[in-house]
């Protein structure tokens, strides 16, 4: 591979490598290092205090709760969508796939806004919700809805191409041998797609826990109540409490690193997701 262009220009090659490394180092590695450096700027003790402070703890809990609701729902949706698209032929399949991908191209702020227009005090269902004492906007349900919208395509877009590639023969064989549909899914399909599913779940979870724009619009920023970790980072930062802001941010950065490590090892082992991880 490396021997295609002539090696007489070894100097040019070294220069290109150096330039690319400098670019990655400057734009990707340096910001990551800065998060941890700023978080630990006043020592470990201050770092620890920032993480056990009640508002931080409730932000962590809310983030985990939101991910625990939205990720499984997206898994169910992703499995259904991939089953329908990959195992059957119907008109408008490519339109359906495009629509599933649509949330990727919508600005997070717009994703949050549409729910405010539906469920907010000025929204279509706002008055009805107020009458019945249901809060969606500036409350946890709104945060969950906005998170589901922005993470909508993650699982489906990993599973659809994977299941299309695997075809229908395995399932048809199991069914012909007398297995029920559900058993076929559980024993035949699921084992075939488990690593791809895990890959989708990883990316979906990272986005669910880290989502900022959409959640910011619907949350109302009530400390200790509707503050997720990314929103808590913003509040602390705007209060010039930089060490605490970066301390909470460092947890999110760790989440990102763990996600990258797991994702990369899945790619190296099974070749999943390469180039489809948008």
């Amino acid at each position: 591979m490396s021997a295609r262009l002539p090696h007489r220009s070894a100097r040019a090659r070294r220069a290109l490598i150096a330039l690319a490394l400098a670019f990655i180092g400057f734009f990707l590695v340096l910001p990551l290092v800065a998060v941890f450096a700023e978080a630990l700027a006043k020592g470990l003790a201050t770092y620890g205090t920032a993480l056990v402070e009640p508002d931080a703890v409730s932000a962590i809990k809310l983030t985990l709760l939101v991910a625990a609701i939205s990720v499984p729902l997206n898994v169910v949706f992703g499995l259904c969508a991939a089953w329908a698209v990959a195992k059957f032929d119907f008109r408008g399949k490519s339109v359906l796939v495009t629509l599933i991908d649509l949330p990727f191209s919508v600005s997070p702020v717009v994703a949050g806004l549409v729910y405010v227009l539906l469920f907010g005090a000025q929204g279509w269902f706002g008055p009805w919700l107020v009458d019945h004492g249901v809060r969606i906007i500036f409350a946890v349900p709104g945060i969950v809805l906005a998170t589901i919208l922005v993470t909508f395509p993650f699982v489906a877009r990993e599973l659809i191409p994977l299941m299309q590639e695997q075809g229908r023969a395995d399932e048809e064989a199991a069914l012909a041998l007398g297995a029920t549909g559900f058993k076929t899914f559980l024993r035949v399909t699921l084992p075939n797609i488990r690593w791809g599913l895990l890959y989708g779940v990883l990316l979906c979870n990272a986005r669910a826990m880290g989502e900022f724009g959409a959640v910011s619009v619907v949350s109302g920023h009530l400390r200790g109540l509707t503050n997720t970790m990314p929103l808590h980072v913003e509040i602390l930062y705007n209060e010039y409490n930089f060490v605490a802001a970066f301390a909470v941010a460092s947890l999110l950065a760790l989440l990102a690193l763990v996600t990258l490590v797991l994702k990369t090892s899945l790619e190296w082992k099974f070749g999943y997701g390469r180039g489809s991880a948008k």
């Binding site: 690319a20 340096l30 119907f90 806004l113 910011s216 990369t264």
Partner: protein, 295 residues
């Protein structure tokens, strides 16, 4: 291609089991109604109805009010900043993302796989974290900012800062689009060109670039689309001065906080239409590529 692939697999299945060869036979796989029904219902509830609600609200404003609030001078300035910085960042990434992909595909060096994995960091790192980290780096007393300040270069709280944040966000789109295509460029073509006396840069411009151009454009469009709508990584470093460093998504939030629902709705509609346009553009590039490959 998807349909071609699945029908090919179907044919294989038919060959393997002759009794299934009859065309138009209904699939024995169950669950179409259930999975399709749930897919459509969930898609409508979460995505389609809420997005239509935005358009209906915008339509309810009436044409004159829509133009007045959606294209007010402040909104126009915000679009200029959002589109301009996104375009600038996508252009920088077009060059350096291509360079990065090239280095990863063509050369071996220590730590390559690790660095390659790092390219996906912007997909995994929450945008707010990226935002405060970049601001810390580029503020006048930050690690990088302190060296730029004496040179009279202000990055944080200016459109340059916004561009830097969007470069961070957009880089993986270009690298991951170009990488697989670059790896597939036929060695024969290159060797033929070289042996016929072409200079390396001629080989790049005349042989390699035409092949990877669709992938490069797709990555560019994806990065651009993401950049136009980006919020979290930008607002910390932007300074957020109306007419100077206020991006369109932030203007939506500001209007919403002031209960200016009409303005928020109109600006959001413009952004949503822009993302639909980008989506069409990307699909167009891909259709063009398929036609070119078929020719």
């Amino acid at each position: 291609m998807e349909i071609a692939l699945s029908s090919q697999l179907q044919m294989q299945a038919a060959v393997e089991r002759p009794r299934k060869r009859r065309r138009g036979r209904k699939s024995i796989i169950p669950g179409f109604g259930l999975t399709m029904g749930f897919t459509l219902a969930w898609l409508s509830l979460i995505v389609l109805i809420p997005l239509s609600a935005l358009f209906l609200r915008a339509a309810g404003l009436g044409w004159n009010e829509f133009l007045a609030v959606g294209f007010s001078p402040r909104a126009m300035a915000a679009y200029r900043i959002s589109f301009g910085t996104a375009l600038g960042a996508a252009a920088v990434n077009g060059v350096f993302g291509l360079l990065t992909a090239w280095v990863f595909v063509r050369y071996e060096f220590p730590g390559k796989r690790l660095l390659n994995a790092m390219v996906d960091l912007p997909f995994a790192l929450p945008t707010a974290v990226a935002g405060i980290a970049l601001t810390a780096l580029y503020s006048p007393n930050g690690w990088v900012g302190q060296f730029l300040e004496p040179l009279g270069i202000k990055v944080a709280y200016t459109p340059i800062g916004i561009t830097i944040a969007l470069i961070f966000i957009g880089l993986p789109f270009i690298v991951r689009s170009v990488e697989p295509v670059l790896a597939d460029v036929s060695a024969d073509l290159e060797e033929a060109a070289l042996s016929l006396g072409a200079r390396p840069w001629q080989v790049f411009l005349r042989v390699i670039l035409p092949v990877i151009l669709p992938a490069l454009l797709t990555g560019f469009a994806l990065a651009l689309a993401r950049g136009i709508g980006e919020y979290g990584s930008v607002i910390f470093i932007a300074g957020n001065m109306p007419f100077k460093s206020e991006i369109a998504p932030l203007l939506i939030v500001t209007q919403l906080e002031q209960y200016e629902y009409a303005a928020a709705t109109a600006i959001a509609t413009v952004l949503l239409l822009a993302s639909f346009a980008m989506l069409l553009l990307i699909n167009g590039i891909q259709a063009w590529t398929r036609r070119r490959m078929a020719a």
